[in-house]
Amino acid sequence: MTGTAADRATAPGLTEARISAWFAQRGWQPFAFQRRVWRAAARGNSGLLHAGTGSGKTLAVWLGALMRALGSRGRRPVAQTGRTRVLWITPMRALAADTERALLEAVIGLELELSVGLRTGDTPSAERTRQDRRPPFALVTTPESLSLMMSRADAAARLGAIEVVIVDEWHELIGSKRGVQLQLALARLATLAGSPPVVWGLSATLGNPHEALDVLLGGRAGMLIDAPARRLPVIDTLLPTTLERFPWGGHLGARMRDAVVTELEASASALVFCNTRAQAELWYAMLLDARPDWAGAIALHHGSLDAQVRRWVERAIAEGRLRAVVCTSSLDLGVDFAPVERVLQIGSAKGIARLLQRAGRSGHRPGAVSRITLVPTHALELVEAVAARDAAAAGRIEARIAPQCPADVLAQHLVTVAAGTGFDEAQMLAELRTTHAYRALDDETWRWALAFVSDGASLAAYPEYRKLTRDEVGLWRVTDPRIARRHRMSIGTIVADASIDLKFMNGARLGSVEEGFIARLRPGDRFMFGGRVLELVRVHEMSAWVRRAEAKTGAVPRWSGGRMPLSGELADAVLDRLREAAGGRFSDPEMRAVRPLLALQARWSRLPQPDLLLAETLQSREGHHLFVYPFAGRHANLGLACMLAFRASRGQPATLSVAVNDYGFELLSAEPIAAAQLASDQGLVSQTPAQDLVAAVNAAELSRRRFREIARVAGLVFQGHPGERRSSRSLQASATMFHDVFARHDPDNLLLAQSRHEVLADELDLARVERGLDVMRSRRLEIVRIERPTPFAFPLMIERLRETVSSEKLADRIARMLAELEEAAR
């Protein structure tokens, strides 16, 4: 895995002329943007290369990095060449090996004598040891592995000579805590090396590239270089032959199976994107059911499958050996799959950026064009499909917002550094403030975080607690090796449910599923995984042992994983199209196909439109329903719904059930809801939407659930190695338990505040809630009493994931639930 040749005493220099010669030799012509990046990087500038799907990005930043690190004449003295000088950070470890190969190709082509290494969670320990002895010149790694290196005592030796850092797929990281973790790591690298490294980010199309640059560089000056996009991809829709039997909501899209088969027959190689792993499993099974002869010619790819299986599939696509791969976001990123001709997207892509990204996985052959075909799973997705095309054509791409000052990531990072080199308090505070995420870190928060991870000294509630201690020269360190070991095992911010390994009886590993799913199965039960129907034999020692089942179907594991909200850009585009429809204009095939359904909606109720706030009331055996359609996206709709539900339950004790989707929300109550009053001006007027939401959130218990991720990142809950699990079991508690014990005994704990903040900012999308409230107030309210669920109401009625907002006494609620259960059992 280490590169071609060992470093020499002096590395040879690299000039643009030399690169140009190599390009010419291969019959290439450097793009203008590549030259700009090379020159900027060679001068020591940092920046962000913002490019749609285009080729040449890797060579732009990689050769720029080499020009910087090697200088034009191999300027490095002997003593320093034995250290790693360039880091390449990739968000997916599955990509790392391909990246390494691509980087090496250029190294060999340019006849540079330097080594490239790979270090991820998959790197075998022999290779690690080799790297420790002979550090590669450039190292490909992930944010997690980088943090892990920082938690080692030799962090300074290993990372103290880094001059250039490339951050690949920055758009994937910027909006998440992983991005924050990386910001912190970059600041640490600057400290270790004595000066900030040259940093170059690579990003797909974003709505806010300038902000993305700022976040990456922590506000230091940098260049934003746009690579010209290739032609806009073709975005079309697979239309259902008849709308009559087409579902109104919440389906897998099974009715589109034959149409999809026809499309796949006509193309040499295609990717079929699904939004969830469960949907991918079912689609794979459906396609094989339709075309048994495609066994071996189509494949399945998602994040729970064994890494080896995934690698095999990736290689097979790249070599053009597969007709189709049914996949999830697991294939959003990655090296070019040149043979892929087109992409099919089952269900809504939810956002323009993601749609374009997926489209860009196809059409890489010379002269080819990227093409994505949307496969609606229910009728209203036809409107979404047109809207997506509108927004893409207009270049309305979503922005990605970087998190601010998350206390959990800070807590983790402090322990990471303390376990490595240790840190000086004042120096660390200054270092943190150079990052975008913590630039506004105040002294109080800082003191809290330090106390929380060190010895709880200033926190009265934590007697005898000790994690970090100050050494004789005043540096904070982890001295207890057990604490250090436990911390290293839980570095990272990707939080998954406890998962359990799936193994065949002969020991072959298939992948992993959530523990919760297996817990619901009994030996003998069948389920689908990796395109096979399996039978559970037994669960033992964190592994589920299975055998192949004869049956054709089985339960499908539900992997948790957030459902993406429809972006504001896309929601607005949908409303625009509905206005056209209300005006009788149906200019695209998709709109003509969905026309009968929109007509039905108009007849039974009204069509939602940009200037109209539609509310529908319905009485059923379940109770009283209120449907409202603000088109604010799933998260903000949940925020609006919780707020209204909270207000409805404030006047008199009541319990409301809340369902949301991207278009609107439903409130369901045993008692009539004063719809007019609630959805009226007064109901929507709020001087303090944030405060109201906090109250509503507490009522809805959202923050308890949100705490799962925070507890894990902050190092409260940890999943040990399989071997260690037993001994550490008495130190395990659930995130909910932590939440509750903090709420009762340390209510000022900043992690609780963070949890509330995250619910507001992410799950309820406060910014969009506020905008949504304005929009709802400014629209003309129309309340329609409906006799039966309308096309817009129906998907909400059948939504299974629901929130509860209640102001009733728990005892009253239990009594009612028991009465209902008894009624149902009769």
Partner: protein
């Protein structure tokens, strides 16, 4: 709530305890005293206050019912790290308030690792099962016994689901061979019971015990409406 088990009457208390009328025994399970302290000593920040809260609730129960004995069905201390320090001191102080009350405990799996509370706490430590009325008192309900067991260990909770509502509650779990008590200690988690046929559960909420009976929390078919049923 009073239930009859054979010829014995047993009261399920909403304070997560059981009252045996004839012997005037107060039963609780799974105190896990010193758990938070064990976490803190291992470098995991859990705020102080849970052991005090647990003992406080237990004291209130004792004062209200004036039992002839208190029996803890195992997992008295959470782990060896709880053996010294504030948790034991708090326990000893608390114990001194009830000098004449016999306190017994049948050892559970945590007690095997944690060891018995020190002598000065005056807890009589026994190896299960302990006989009371017609029952075998033990920690693990799956322990073999020749009669009906009163036990703890599993921290049972139950999920209830209604048309518009749901809740997760601590519960008593009445099996064919055992009555399982909910965990008494603060900072203890729960394990969701799926009652099989012939089993009953009793949920605790708002200071009341609710007879859930054999009603299972099965997922409900959400809607009878069908799309396009115009």
């Amino acid at each position: 709530m009073m239930i009859e088990l054979g010829s014995d009457r047993v009261t399920l208390l909403p304070e997560r305890a059981v009252w045996l009328t004839d012997s005037r025994s107060l039963l609780v399970a799974d105190l896990h005293l010193g758990k938070a302290q064990s976490f803190r000593r291992a470098g995991i920040p859990v705020p102080a206050g849970t052991t005090a809260a647990t003992l406080g609730r237990l004291g209130t129960l004792i004062e209200r019912h004036a039992p002839a004995e208190l029996i803890v069905l195992g997992d008295f201390l959470h782990g060896p790290l709880a053996q010294q320090g504030p948790a034991i001191d708090a326990l000893a102080l608390w114990r001194a308030r009830y000098p004449r009350l016999p306190i017994r405990m049948v050892r559970g799996n945590h007690d095997d690792a944690a060891g018995d509370p020190p002598k000065r706490c005056g807890i009589e430590c026994l190896t299960a099962p302990l006989a009371r009325a017609a029952f075998a008192l033990c920690h693990d309900p799956d322990e073999p016994a020749d009669r009906f067991k009163l036990a703890g260990h599993v921290h049972p909770v139950i999920s209830l689901r209604g048309a518009i509502d749901r809740a997760r509650l601590g519960c008593f779990w009445l099996r064919r061979d055992a009555l399982v008590l909910p965990a008494f200690g603060d900072f203890t988690g729960g394990w969701e019971v799926r009652a099989k046929s012939g089993e009953r559960t009793f949920a605790i909420a708002d200071g009341q015990v609710f007879d859930v009976g054999t009603l299972a929390a099965r997922p409900r078919a959400r809607s009878r409406w069908r799309a396009g049923s115009a």
